[in-house]
């Protein structure tokens, strides 16, 4: 059991940090502009593809920096020439715009890079074993993911709390109209925040593309779970996104690691494995794990729509 808990925590934290890289950008964008960016996972995907293509010429380390910048630039273009135009019609069209954008980006990625997964891999140095825990090896790459996530969180925190730009963003999060009245160029702030959020997702993609698989379906797979994180953490709250990412990461990993079903633990009581309750009684934890985030999403929205750290209701 101790082993299981240790694994769950370590692997869960690892998965959680990747979730955080994606959700922090999404939550910032929402908090600022009120836009739930359905295409956010698409920017994550673009990050992986850009890093792969750039990496062929510049090498991984330069691509690690260049790819998120490129994704951020794309984000800026999307905001400036797409979202801003739709903004006048209200939030629903904005959301629908990003919804359509997700389809288009996926198709374009499949067009240029093909539908087969691309061989995007970490540099050989990082595939060596960093440490061994309970007989399972952990590569340097996993350590690297942790480091990137920590650096990102600290960087974000410093940016939001300690810089002037951060203060403007903080202010705009709660009172955009007042910030505008104070003479700040709110549309420009919007563009920058959107670009920055996309760049964060892109960074997540640079790392996540290696950890998982880089193919045109990766955005579709990742999309909904990021929403769960953001809602659970509280829309617009960066610390909330961190906590929610870790909760979901650890919880899901834990459910996958244990061998548990009501029937095995409590006893079958001659309950047959059929019918709604029978199936539920015999359901193994591993099979429930993937729907767990969505269950959390619905429960959160019913009982605490503002999420863990949200300041206001969505």
């Amino acid at each position: 059991m101790l082993e299981t808990i240790a694994y769950s925590i370590f692997n869960g934290v690892l998965y959680g940090t990747l979730l955080f890289m994606m959700s922090s950008g999404l939550t910032l964008i929402f908090g600022m502009m009120g836009v739930l960016n359905f295409a956010h996972a698409s920017f994550y995907m673009l990050g992986a593809y850009f890093a792969y293509t750039l990496g062929l010429t510049t090498g991984f380390w330069l691509a690690l920096i260049l790819a998120p910048i490129a994704v951020g630039a794309m984000g800026a273009l999307v905001e400036r020439y797409g979202l801003r135009r739709v903004h006048q019609y209200g939030h629903v069209p904005e959301l629908l715009f990003t919804f359509g954008l997700a389809y288009v980006i996926e198709e374009l990625v499949a067009l240029f890079w093909g539908t087969v997964p691309i061989p995007y891999k970490a540099p050989a140095v990082m595939n060596t074993t960093a440490f061994t825990m309970f007989d399972l090896d952990y590569s340097w790459f996993k350590v690297f993911i942790l480091l990137v996530a920590v650096a990102m969180f600290v960087g974000l925190w410093l940016l939001l709390m300690k810089t002037r730009a951060g203060q403007v963003i903080q202010a705009a999060l709660s009172r955009p109209d007042m910030v505008g009245a104070l003479g700040h160029n709110v549309p420009l702030v919007f563009t920058l925040v959107f670009a920055f959020g996309c760049a964060l997702a892109g960074l997540g993609g640079v790392v996540g593309g290696i950890q998982f698989v880089t193919d045109p379906g990766m955005a579709f797979m990742m999309g909904p779970i990021v929403f769960v994180v953001v809602v659970l953490g509280g829309l617009g709250s960066v610390p909330g996104a961190l906590v929610a990412s870790l909760i979901i990461g650890i919880l899901q990993t834990f459910f996958l690691s244990i061998n548990f079903s009501l029937a095995e633990t409590i006893g079958t009581f001659n309950i047959e494995n059929s019918g709604f309750f029978g199936v539920l009684w015999h359901m193994e934890a591993t099979r429930i794990a993937p729907v767990l985030p969505f269950l959390l999403l619905v429960l959160t929205l019913i009982f605490r729509p503002r999420g863990i750290f949200g300041k206001r209701e969505a």
Partner: protein, 418 residues
């Protein structure tokens, strides 16, 4: 107030409809058309695309040497978006357009729907029948409870693959603890159930130490499963996973440094070799009807050229579905035996029980249930192989060849014949 737009749109729609469905006349020298019903868009598009290229290539090669009865073969690609109900529509469309042959392989759920659709069409439209050639859907039900006179399976069903695998395993002293990881749907459920039975019956030295199901295409991080495998002390893993679910599993096992043999159905294709690369060497096994180095080992020069020509044309992928070769050549033999490509009942009868000299030996289409009986190969990822898979740097080396007798399972099929 919007009558105008309405009529306008409806006329537009009517014009569009007439364009989309203009009847296609056909004559004796028109090509023999085969509908290829697979996902060509969406997350599984790569799988469909791979099959399409196999069929297009084979058709072209066969057309170069005279086609069938002097008529060209034409593959009509139809996108089913991996959806059973969409596939039902496409079978209907094929029948409408006078296409007599449909082929499909990815997803037994789609396969089941296709059988239903073909049966339904052939019952309701007796003068416009359709034949379904299945090149990859491996659910045993398709040639057992659901078996149909108009369905032929050219791949080995999963009960046959497991039969062959257990026949191989019973001679392996070092296989003692077997762990099962499968996708949570009928294919995975079947493997889990059947493998457990086979271990009980045939492998006295071995036991099942774990049996987990995970949802299809939703797990991104397999390390929790790896920790369970590690805790169970398993030395062998059997998995029916395919695509990303397999790639991720193998990568997670390798990066954790677990020493375990992985036996799979689909380790050789659908992007897995590229995603796994050298990490799979000596670990990842597959059970198939053929692999690229069989040509080298057995000196099949002609077939090796076929393989190489395919590679030249599509450098990013490899010739993988040996059964497409079998299927197309057997269809040709059946049509030529009947003398026309229109009498579906006669063609189906010609295919029943047909023996065919495949490059790998004689293969038989069992008349009772329309299941292909063929020798199988168990192979392992090998960097020393002559041909690498999907440009990954690793290919496949034969571990064991399972003769036809050891790769046969009885059927319960009770076929309704016209």
């Amino acid at each position: 107030m919007q009558q105008n737009p309405k009529t306008r749109l409806l006329t537009g729609l009517a014009v569009g409809l007439s364009l989309a469905t203009s009847p296609i006349a056909h004559a004796e020298d028109d090509p023999i058309r085969i509908s290829f019903i697979e996902p060509l868009s969406g997350p599984f598009a790569n799988v469909g695309d791979l099959g399409l290229k196999h069929f297009r290539f084979t058709a072209e090669k066969m057309n170069e040497s005279g086609g069938i009865l002097g008529r060209d073969i034409k593959i009509i690609a139809m996108d089913n978006k991996q959806s059973p109900s969409e596939s039902v529509q496409l079978v209907q469309r094929s029948a409408d357009e006078g296409i007599k042959f449909v082929t499909q392989g990815n997803g037994s759920n789609v396969g089941g729907a296709m059988i239903e659709a073909v049966e339904r069409n052939n019952r309701r439209n007796k003068d416009n029948k359709v034949l379904y050639l299945n090149y990859a859907a491996v659910d045993p039900a398709l040639t057992n409870e659901q078996c149909s006179f108009y369905h032929f399976r050219f791949d080995a069903a999963s009960d046959i693959k497991l039969e062959a695998l257990s026949n191989y395993m019973k001679d392996q002293e070092d296989i003692n603890k077997i762990f099962l990881v499968n996708m949570d749907y009928s294919h995975g459920h079947f493997i889990s159930k059947r493998m457990t039975e086979l271990v009980d019956e045939r492998l006295p030295q071995a036991e099942i130490v774990g049996d987990v199901m995970h949802p299809i295409g939703q797990v991104r991080d397999f390390s929790p499963y790896v920790s369970r495998i590690q805790q169970s002390g398993a030395d062998t893993l059997v998995s029916g996973n395919w695509g990303n679910d397999l790639s991720l599993l193998v990568r997670a096992i390798d990066s954790a440094g677990l020493d375990i043999k992985i036996h799979t159905f689909y380790g050789g294709g659908l992007g897995t070799p590229a995603a796994v690369g050298l990490r799979g060497e000596g670990i990842l096994h597959q059970i198939t009807e053929w692999h690229s180095d069989v040509n080298v080992d057995e000196g099949l020069e002609e077939y090796e050229n076929w393989f190489r020509e395919f590679k030249q044309r599509y450098p990013e992928i490899d010739w993988y579905f040996h059964r497409v070769y079998n299927q197309m050549h057997m269809l040709k033999a059946a049509i030529e035996e009947v003398g026309n490509a229109e009498d579906i009942d006669a063609i189906a009868r010609a295919l029943e029980g047909m023996k065919f000299e495949s490059p790998t030996g004689t293969i038989t289409m069992r008349a009772k249930d329309h299941q292909m009986l063929q020798p199988l190969y168990i192979s392992v990822m090998d960097a020393g192989a002559k041909y690498d898979a999907d440009n990954s740097g690793v290919g496949w080396g034969t571990v064991a060849q399972i003769p036809v007798e050891q790769a046969t399972v009885e059927t319960t099929c009770n076929m309704r014949r016209p």
